[in-house]
């Protein structure tokens, strides 16, 4: 199947830092994320946009993701509360363990309740927006998930709302420590 023709009607876009143009520092650049043809990835830090996108667009062979996890302070006392949140900029073609949905990109949430019972949600969106500048970055996965953070302040926060489709909504915050 011709990937380009199968995806050409899909409205997928990504706002990104200019991390793939190391000589220029701007706040955002827009380009489509799922395309036919080769994609290139950046493997050398340009000095800004640490948490920005590092692939220029998504085809069937690449992925980029933003991963967060949290675990309770009281595991030793039997509280097994935990959360894992992943904002994927890729498809099952580039990352084989993702569910098969080559036209959309997923956001996965999961974890454990205090008693250890596992919970998990798996959602797809047709558009992701990531903006990054020298120290700040933020991402939106459609209307269902958002994160933002700053490497200088060490403050990060995320929110998600899947109440209608999965019965899940909430927030988490990270304050960087050492």
């Amino acid at each position: 199947m011709n990937m380009h023709s199968s995806l050409s009607s899909i409205s997928l876009g990504l706002l990104a830092s200019a991390a793939l143009v190391p000589a220029i520092t701007v706040s955002q650049v827009k380009y489509p994320i799922i395309e036919d043809g080769p994609s290139s990835a950046q493997f050398t830090y340009p000095g800004y946009g640490l948490d920005g996108p590092r692939v220029d667009h998504v085809n069937s062979t690449v992925f980029d993701w933003w991963y967060f996890d949290m675990i309770s302070d009281n595991v030793a006392e039997g509280d097994l509360s935990s959360v894992v949140a992943v904002f994927h900029d890729g498809t099952s073609g580039g990352f084989q363990t993702l569910l098969d949905s080559p036209n959309k990109i997923p956001m996965t949430l999961g974890g454990t309740f205090p008693n250890g019972t596992i919970w998990r949600t798996y959602s797809f969106v047709s558009e992701a927006v990531v903006v990054a500048d020298e120290t700040h970055s933020q991402g939106s996965w459609g209307d269902i998930g958002h994160w933002a953070g700053d490497v200088e302040t060490g403050h990060w926060a995320a929110s998600f709302d899947l109440l209608e489709t999965h019965g899940v909504r909430g927030t988490f915050r990270l304050e960087q420590v050492g």
Partner: protein, 71 residues
């Protein structure tokens, strides 16, 4: 004597701290940035009407993979 110069564990790559020109490669075709190595986490989630709220330890990283060889 141990002198702690920072109260925060800094972001880092697999083989060094965040500096312009540093390699982000951790494995062939795989880039990795440990943006938040250690954090205080506050979680407040509702799952099918059940609250999951706790304080704890958090972590954040960013990974990319490509089957083309990095230049």
């Amino acid at each position: 004597m141990l002198t702690l110069l920072s109260q925060r564990a800094p972001p880092h790559f697999s083989c060094g701290l965040v500096e312009p020109g540093a390699s982000e490669v951790i494995l062939p075709h795989v880039g990795w940035v440990n943006t938040v190595p250690d954090a205080r986490a506050t979680v407040d989630i509702e799952i099918n009407g059940t609250a999951l709220s706790f304080s704890g330890t958090g972590y954040h990283d960013k990974v990319r993979d490509t089957r083309i060889r990095p230049s």
